[in-house]
């Protein structure tokens, strides 16, 4: 395979890109940053093993997920994507509290409305 058609991984690793390269379908040459992040956090052999252990039809999704996690960890070396999980759990907690309050308000207003209707009927 000519050097001009190496995938981003093989370019980064400065090696030939074989025809059955495990990385090539998921790390195209036009996006070097994608593999650079993954390599920095996981290393190429770990990523290669993770992809190898999966059925072919699941590897693209796995590569995308690994890239997202790596990018998160590069941007936030302490918490990585776990920060996002924490924020989402907090959002859920807040939304559930607000929902309970809103439903309590609705119940109160509903009973007010019913009283008024009875009052109108009595007049």
């Amino acid at each position: 395979m000519s050097t001009s058609s190496r995938c981003a991984a093989c370019r980064h690793l400065r090696r030939r890109c074989p025809s059955d390269c495990i990385f090539a379908p998921y790390f195209p040459a036009n996006d070097p940053h994608r593999f650079a992040c993954v390599h920095k956090i996981y290393g190429s052999s770990k990523v290669g093993n993770m992809l190898q252990d999966l059925p072919v039809e699941l590897r693209a999704e796995a590569a995308d997920a690994i890239c997202i996690e790596a990018e998160c960890r590069v941007q936030d070396p302490v918490y990585g994507c776990v920060r996002m999980i924490s924020l989402l759990q907090q959002q859920i907690h807040n939304a559930e509290s607000q929902l309970v309050k809103a439903r309590a308000e609705i119940a109160v207003l509903g009973s007010h409305a019913q009283e008024l209707r009875h009052h109108v009927q009595d007049i």
């Binding site: 993770m50 796995a62 997920a65 996690e69 990018e71 920060r83 907090q90 809103a102 207003l109």
Partner: protein
């Protein structure tokens, strides 16, 4: 919880796993106690010992415990779900937020409807006691969705058949990470919320 372990006691879980002497000052020892062997097993499987060492060396000492716990969390997530890992959990939680927001919007609409339709049209009433409209909080601020994945693609969505195992964050009671959330150590700023 960081603990110390050295060769005078028993080797830390990392050195035990790596079959090496746990020296004083071992970078893993405070964070991988021998009582929690699986923690290092997972981290080693996903990240590798040398990558973890590099990551920890790039951080300030007070950041390392949270970093190890978040790495352990991610590693466990990926061991449980080798395809989506933590991203699957994020997607699941985003859908929950979306669902709750819709329910909140609906509840707010009901509240406004009650406020507007409180007095039936055409009825002759003595001055009714005013509703405590001030108690209505119709607008719960819309939670901004946290977007992950490529620009413009919105939420990362694993297939609908994905079932999310329940994850407990490694932080004890406080759902928010402790420590300086804006300090990213040697590697750059924080903020993994938007990509």
């Amino acid at each position: 919880m960081a603990s110390s372990s050295n060769s005078y006691n028993s080797p830390c879980a990392a050195c035990k796993f790596l079959r090496r002497k746990c020296v004083p000052g071992c970078i893993f020892a405070p964070y991988f106690p021998p009582e929690e062997p699986q923690k290092f097993v997972n981290v080693h499987k996903i990240f590798g010992a040398s990558n973890v060492t590099k990551l920890l060396n790039d951080l300030l000492p007070h950041q390392r415990e949270d970093a190890v716990n978040s790495l352990a969390y991610e590693a466990e997530a990926r061991v449980r779900d080798p395809v989506y890992g933590c991203v699957g959990a994020i997607s699941f939680l985003q859908r929950q937020v979306h669902r709750l927001q819709k329910e909140l919007d609906s509840a707010n609409a009901d509240l406004i409807r009650y406020a507007c339709n409180e007095i039936p049209p055409g009825s002759q009433l003595p001055a009714p006691a005013p509703l405590s409209v001030s108690s209505i909080h119709p607008v719960i601020p819309r939670q901004r969705p946290i977007r992950i994945g490529n620009e413009g693609e919105g939420f990362y969505q694993p297939p609908s058949s994905y079932t999310h195992p329940s994850y407990i964050l490694p932080w004890n009671d406080n759902p928010s990470p402790s420590g300086d959330i804006n300090h990213g150590g040697g590697g750059g700023g924080g903020g993994g919320g938007n990509m």
